[in-house]
Symmetry: C2
Amino acid sequence: MDSSYIQVTPIKQSKIDTVDFNKLDFGRVFSDYMFECDYKNGEWQTPVIKPYGPISLDPSARVFHYGQAVFEGMKAYKDDNDDIFLFRPDENLKRINKSSERLAMPAFPENYFFDGLTKLLHLEKNWIKKGFGNSLYIRPFVIATQPAISASPSEDYKFMIILSPAQAYYAGEVRVLFAEKYSRSANGGVGFAKAAGNYAAQFFPTSLAHKKGYQQIIWTDANTHEYLEEAGTMNIFFRIGDKLITAPNNDRILDGITRKSIIQLAKDNGIEIEVRPVSVAEIKDAARKGELKEIFGTGTAAVINPIVGFGHSEEDFELPKLEKSYASFFKEKLMNIQYNKSQDPYGWRVKI
Amino acid sequence: MDSSYIQVTPIKQSKIDTVDFNKLDFGRVFSDYMFECDYKNGEWQTPVIKPYGPISLDPSARVFHYGQAVFEGMKAYKDDNDDIFLFRPDENLKRINKSSERLAMPAFPENYFFDGLTKLLHLEKNWIKKGFGNSLYIRPFVIATQPAISASPSEDYKFMIILSPAQAYYAGEVRVLFAEKYSRSANGGVGFAKAAGNYAAQFFPTSLAHKKGYQQIIWTDANTHEYLEEAGTMNIFFRIGDKLITAPNNDRILDGITRKSIIQLAKDNGIEIEVRPVSVAEIKDAARKGELKEIFGTGTAAVINPIVGFGHSEEDFELPKLEKSYASFFKEKLMNIQYNKSQDPYGWRVKI
């Protein structure tokens, strides 16, 4: 790999010593450098790496008005030998380009993505801390920059990668509300894409759930609210007896990389897994019978997030506390691969 | 009204002489000044007016990642006496705050909105050209500015108003496609709001429609695709015989100000109007029988946009060319009110 074409503007001084790596709020502190690439005149220009700092945009830039923006979430991990690893990064590139296509935005070239990301991470290797659970969160994103407020696709874009150090994510006891009124996405909509607008749309219903004592919402299908889909920043798995169930992908549900890794791990570890529609009625029924053992969310930020209870239609259900949960089994399996502590028969771990 | 608290930073030189007002592309040229107000520490700060120019944001600003952004569209009109008018501006304020609420954003204060807008328009009065059809397009918008990429509502926002001179809008012959696969919004979603993300989601399906020879899409309900809803930047009216029909508002359809004005005008001018679900089957059936006389879109930018034909399920329908269309009747009525050429029994016209 020759990434010498990506020019680096050096920082004057690193801010790394001002950061307390044992006290990190997610997504608030950013590293010294950022990767930037502009799309103009129908093509991506030569990317650059430069000191992290503000970007200047015309107030008419389309991203501000029409939400033409997509993103990805990834992590870089360090093992005890100071080697740096990514987890299935090809999937992130594929997905950001799929998201971009749905929002009428140009695909980002594979070589710019991997050359830029690798160069950036090598430059910022001190920001990746050793230790199980520590990581450098990677946020690639694309925004529409053309200064024009007609409601049509932008001609200019900016692709960026910014980095934020992260600790093991613990969200506290997570109780979820099954959605009955509000929805996250429509058939034929953009729910499968990491489109910026999908997230803002969830904030208000989620704040209502907070007030009722739930931390997150599990979204249901917008049409009937009878089927459980995803949690907005996580895919969702249900364990009934010893069987694991998760909703199939469709154009409303994000094709989560952690999700598909867990489906694979389940298959290869003798855990029965069904990928099929999951109804609210089925889950409530299983909970009443004591057969619902676990619900957990999966995603890059949280890896696996166990859920302690759920509410639906003014009724609350508690989940049992298990000694040997699937959630902890999968979390360990996955993190061992990510942190180079186990074999990786799948080729998911990529050393950079 | 005392707007002296809104400080104005003067421009060095106006760029108005560089603008050809007879050759304006919509939304590409902006006036000399802009209005800006920041939300910090739980309150809106004192707004300012300053020279139009780039804004600087951290790359982690939430608007770039989570689409927390809403906007409005308005116009300022000038009559032959150089008086300046707005059309139902209270409705725009109400709606931007309704949009903001749905996206978990703070409401903007009424006095800041009207003081700021009035002061800005008086400062920019030379940008409002006389003549039927000429206007100064007004774009208020709010964006989430907090530098933090956790998926939750921003704590900081920026409210801005920018201005763009506009000529009478003529979109050419508009042929529309009735949506069969893609959707604009879900039940329980944000379709009723002018949320930024609603617009980017339409660009790709619209580009597919363009390739098939249609300029716009009329969105149908995401569930069955059997009912006609709105066109993304326009509400839609259908005329069967002498009766006008338009879909009712719901949480998927924008509560258009032009739309509700036309409903009122229809009622007061003896035109039968029904506000009820409109099915694709009914419209195709009426077209086949020769009873479908008109389809037109309504919105601030276009005022009224007549549609010459539509396609659905690989079948195309042409609409008759009428001498006395409802579209031209309403357009004249509405513009006479807007440009102070007729009485305004409704109090819609506001002189500033």
